[in-house]
Point group: C2
DNA sequence: CGTAGTCTTGAATTCGATCAATATCTGTGG
DNA sequence: CCACAGATATTGATCGAATTCAAGACTACG
């Protein structure tokens, strides 16, 4: 079904706001994120995508993309052309089911991010982000010896959590000092997993079986 | 496909957190909302559902519901049993496509709510909520003579926007005094639509054609 | 080396939270 | 019809978490 396999360098925007012909993508390798922004430049990152995640379901289903999507690292993307989307539903129901499942799975992440931005304080937000990303990366076997390649800048973290850059920096520094985790040279190490989970009220649940497109 | 037509009174919780056998619902009449909460009781409303909206796609697809759903008014719900969901994809591809479309449409709303909670100030948040709900209600022909039945309490508004109850009350009062809108006796009247849209940075876009289940 | 991006730190400010009290409304039963 | 209880709304005062402003330091890279 996939028509193409794209390679993009870090920083490439592959879905543009208002774009009318966005395709549906599956992230094959690397990290990416979706975001929205207000006219004065305030930016909100909606979610980070890791390998296996779907990006652009709304954008490919609707006439206009309501968000942008950018590659955080170099990425490989599989493309499912929007033209063939309906055909996919007609001819490959199980695959269509998986697309819907992955779409719902993406929404679950945004739901959690909304809870985070709306109701958690700065330290909880950061713990929540770290816990969730670490957990997802672990499931994908991206963690080696307790260390994870972590391509986010503090600006990304701030924009994902609805915090200012300065406050993100200070809170991050405090949590590092408390020995919860460390981020250095683009590597994340979870030092006190228990404490991070507690702060985040993040409950470890066994991952559901996940369809692969 | 629908197996049942439920009537529930206002306040009924029809999807429970952690519930393992939640069904998929379509809201036929009335208002409802989905929410999450932290252990200490902080609550975040994820989205409000109006007639035609899908509720419970994640909950019916996954093993456990990650959120709760409550009827805001008396509601009528159409039920699509989770058992038949896969069958629906196999036997009625166009309908399955619509389910996915509606699911994506729900995610678009949560995306916007995340932008609101993360990056808008109190006045902008309220304007944003008012503008969006009014616009959606209008599309459904729920607005009569510029007046809309509006069942939200200030606590609901606060929980949807990530604000405290007190600050919600004060900001609401200020916007009413400024003549942007009025909320009285459960009725919402948009008085200065232009000003509300501007505050919310809410751009009126013609609604996409919408599948009906 | 110079420039741009990222990170750090301190100080002042403010928006929104919290605390506390009162008022208004709604439905219920006597 | 009134009295009461529980929700909902309002208002004032104080507090604090996070923003904003401002400067530097560190890094990578052409």
């Amino acid at each position: 079904m996939k028509s193409d396999h794209l390679r993009l360098v870090a920083g490439t925007e592959f879905i543009h706001l208002e774009q009318t012909d966005a395709e549906l993508f599956t992230l094959f390798s690397g990290w990416a994120f979706r975001y929205k922004e207000l006219v004065d430049g305030r930016r909100q990152i909606l979610n980070f995508a890791l390998p296996g995640d779907l990006i652009g379901l709304q954008a490919s289903l609707f006439d206009k993309a309501l968000y942008g999507a950018i590659a955080l690292t170099d990425v490989e993307l599989c493309v499912i052309p929007r033209r063939r989307l309906f055909k996919l539903f007609e001819r490959m129901p199980p695959l269509a089911f998986d697309v819907t499942w992955l779409g719902a799975s993406g929404e679950a992440i945004v739901d959690e991010n909304l809870l985070t931005a709306g109701r958690r304080n700065a330290a909880e937000r950061i713990a929540s982000l770290i816990a969730t990303l670490y957990r997802r990366a672990e499931t994908l076997d991206l963690v080696r010896n307790g260390v994870l390649d972590f391509p986010l800048t503090q600006q990304h973290i701030a924009d994902a959590l609805g915090l200012s850059l300065v406050h993100t920096n200070k809170t991050l520094a405090r949590l590092k000092t408390l020995g919860l985790f460390s981020i250095r040279d683009g590597k994340l190490t979870l030092i006190n997993r228990r404490a991070v989970s507690r702060l985040a009220q993040h409950f470890e649940k066994e991952p559901a079986p996940r369809p692969l497109l």
